[in-house]
């Protein structure tokens, strides 16, 4: 088991390296750098000005060197610019250049500087992630129990009317992406056109003070899309378990139906949905980006959109490190959890 986890972690690290390099490559393509230079400096810079702007700030070094700097395995650049000012990657505004460290990258705990927010990437990522964490928590708290209940109710009597209607409901939810359900929910529950106005159409206030009124719609919007898929998996798994021999035996023994479902079937039926729930995290990330944009909730997904829209290289890299990490860790947990839940499967 330990060996399995170690191997998986090694693969994870390699994957993260590859992925961050891809992000690095794409964000460092010249047209992207040019756009960034123009947003940073001014929009009327000519080609030469752009070139010297980029050169002075170390953007025109060879790609592997820049990537090494970001990782912290290559010394940060120190460039005497064409305007006479000496700039260095590791220079801090209140430090004397000679005292600044030689290496500054992810390995040293320095995630870089966000050109969009004019502050430290690590700080932005942690605050934004915290806000998204609250959102995710409520999404999970709403989505997982309701999906499991729907799946179990539908799967315990396959083909019944409950099953038909709940299955149709789950198909409808899987067909409703966040930007559709969000729009419909806002229009119905928060617009003056329908006159209900039960909830708020924006979640900006929820960043300080999340309550039912301003946080319900974003949470429901994300939960709906993920719910159907988990419910369908639970239903399939439940339906399969209910045809097993030991369930028949239990019925013949005279165990009551609720007892069969809760005590005999449930545990075995929840193995498959567990994996699905874990693998749902990467999808939730997509949902988070859409919902945070739609409801103007300034969390992690919002930061991603801002970083990508402004070619904020180091923030974008920070965001991708975190999201890739989330994806890979949930995959690992789902694999390990699967083995623990299902004694019939062994790692070897």
């Amino acid at each position: 088991m330990a060996l399995f986890i170690l191997r998986r972690i090694a693969i994870m690290l390699f994957t993260s390296l590859c992925l961050t390099f891809v992000v690095f490559f794409l964000t460092n393509l010249y047209p992207n750098l040019e756009k960034m230079a123009k947003t940073q400096g001014n929009f009327r810079m000519n080609d030469e000005a752009v070139l010297s702007f980029l050169e002075n700030r170390g953007y025109l070094l060879p790609l592997p060197v820049k990537y090494g700097e970001w990782l912290g395995v290559y010394p940060g650049y120190v460039i005497e610019g064409s305007d006479g000012e000496i700039r260095g990657r590791c220079f801090n505004s209140d430090q004397i250049p000679s005292e600044s460290p030689r290496y500054c990258g992810i390995l040293q705990g320095y995630w870089g500087y966000s050109t969009r927010f004019k502050s430290d990437v690590l700080g932005i990522v942690t605050t934004r992630l915290g806000l998204t964490g609250i959102l995710m928590f409520w999404v999970m708290a709403l989505m997982v129990p309701s999906a499991l209940i729907i799946g179990i109710l539908a799967g315990m009597r396959e083909g019944s009317r409950t099953d038909r209607s709940l299955s149709t409901f789950s198909i409808v939810t899987t067909a409703t992406p966040e930007y559709v359900s969000g729009v419909i929910l806002i229009a119905v529950f928060a617009s003056s056109a329908f006159g209900l106005k039960w909830f708020k159409g924006t979640a900006t206030a929820a960043m300080e003070n999340p309550n039912l009124e301003n946080f319900f719609l974003p949470v429901v919007t994300i939960a709906i899309y993920g719910m159907g898929y988990i419910a369908r998996m639970t239903r399939a798994s439940m339906a399969e378990v209910m045809t097993a021999q030991y369930i028949r035996t239990a019925r013949l023994k005279g165990v009551s139906f609720p007892n069969i479902v809760l005590k005999h079937a449930l545990r075995n039926a929840l193995i498959a949905p567990f994996t699905v729930i874990m693998l749902q995290f990467p999808w939730l990330l997509n949902g988070v980006v859409i919902v945070e944009t739609l409801f103007n909730y300034k969390g992690f997904g919002w930061a991603l959109v801002q970083a990508a829209g402004n070619n904020d290289i180091e923030l974008l890299l920070g965001v991708s490190v975190v999201s890739v990490f989330v994806v890979l860790v949930t995959q690992l947990i789902s694999d390990i959890g699967y083995v623990y839940l299902n004694p019939r499967i062994s790692v070897n």
Binding site: P31, V172, V183
Partner: protein, 397 residues
């Protein structure tokens, strides 16, 4: 001219969609008549869910087709702005309508005073072309790589699987933001990706024909010559664009695809292909242990013949079901791209972009965003129901 009531609006829209209803009725009558001789497609008409799904999907296909080719159904130019129609509620009469103009905005006007109904119908034309095409290309890539990976296993499998997992570990939206920007288009990267991805149908076709007919060289040469000729010209026309990084052989460059559209297309294929690869690989690993594969081995058939003519046809059931689901998913992805304003031109009537435009005034004028939302929802729902019906029917035998 008065404001139409909701019942009037519904009647007007049903009338306006007349050709679609006629086409649907004809399609269903013909399919019902011959359903016993139509294989899996015919069996679809035994399942209520499947029929409902198919009807919804075909509704949009016909609507998009009639609007795109014959200019029917659409009441006003989807890009034109009409003075005085800004944010008007559904059923508002067109101000200053002349003879020949349609008299009302059936679903109202949007924030730029364009007709919401016409934009919704025009949006369906784009979706019903791009979504199935992109899914088809993703399947070509996934099958061409997945079948050998599952069949041979070993290092080939490890390498391709690693790359597939790499792409899958990317959050889709981040990938879109990195690939679908005007700046990336300047570097020609989407076109290089197009060169690579669009090559797969050619490879697939060549291997498919060659593995079967290499014993009859004349027939093979004829099939390969004609097929590759047609595919090759389409390929060159697709990847070439005058004035961009890749423009060669402009004499046989038949058509230019809009650069934004090509980028969107390529990235959607790129995102979908790894999942298809994983499904095909899994199916191949399962099927290659069957007896008929062993029998083909014993007959001395080549590896590619076994892969493409023994294994692949037997994997078709799950693949067809996944194809339907994946068109739905691609529709969602296209909507996502539009929602973030990536790819297509801003005034383009695709559903995602229309939702994004409409959401800014959502709490006051919900209709410009609601209409495309419900359109997109219904199409994806139709595809999911269709897939469900197909799955049920294909499991029966």
């Amino acid at each position: 001219m008065d404001l139409l009531t909701w019942s009037d609006i519904i009647i007007q829209i049903v009338l306006r969609l007349g050709p679609v209803w006629v086409a649907l009725v004809i399609l269903f009558l013909v399919s019902f008549r011959f359903k016993r001789s139509l294989g899996l497609y015919g069996k679809l008409f035994d399942s209520t869910i499947g029929m409902i799904g198919f009807a919804i999907v075909m509704f949009w296909v016909f609507a998009g087709f009639f609007a795109g080719t014959l200019d029917w159904i659409i009441t006003h130019d989807p890009l034109a702005q009409f003075s005085g129609m800004k944010n008007k509620v559904p059923g508002t009469p067109l101000r200053g309508a002349e003879d020949g103009d349609y008299s009302h905005f059936l679903f109202g006007g949007d924030h730029l005073a364009r007709d919401v109904f016409s934009r919704m119908i025009a949006g369906s034309t784009i979706v019903i072309i791009i979504a199935p095409m992109a899914t088809l290309f993703a399947f070509m890539v996934g099958i061409t790589l997945g079948v050998p990976a599952g069949y041979y296993g070993g290092r080939l499998d490890t390498t391709i699987s690693f790359i597939a997992n790499l792409i899958l570990a990317f959050p889709v939206i981040l990938l879109f933001y990195l690939l679908v920007t005007p700046e990336i288009r300047l570097t020609g990267l989407p076109q290089y990706m197009a060169i690579f991805l669009f090559l797969f149908p050619l490879i697939f076709y060549t291997v498919l024909v060659n593995s079967r007919f290499h014993i009859v060289p004349t027939k093979r040469n004829a099939l390969l010559g004609i097929g590759l000729g047609v595919l090759g010209i389409l390929y060159i026309s697709l990847i070439n664009e005058a004035g961009s990084k890749i423009s060669f052989l402009s004499s046989i460059d038949l058509f230019d695809v809009d650069a934004g559209l090509l980028t969107v297309f390529v990235s959607v294929v790129f995102v979908n292909a790894p999942t298809v690869f994983r499904i095909v690989r899994g199916l191949t690993m399962d099927i290659k242990t069957r007896d008929y594969v062993a029998a083909a081995h014993t007959r001395g058939e080549g590896a590619w013949y076994i892969m493409l003519w023994e294994i692949l046809p037997n994997a078709r059931g799950p693949l067809i079901v996944d194809f339907c689901l994946r068109i739905g998913y691609t529709t969602i992805l296209l909507g996502t791209l539009g929602f973030f304003g990536l790819g297509l031109a801003p005034e383009d009537p695709n559903w995602g972009a229309t939702i994004n435009d409409g959401r800014k005034l959502l709490s006051i004028y919900p209709h410009p965003a609601l209409v495309p939302s419900i359109a997109l929802l219904s199409l994806v729902l139709g595809l999911n129901l269709l897939a469900d019906g197909l799955r049920e029917e294909s499991l029966k035998d």
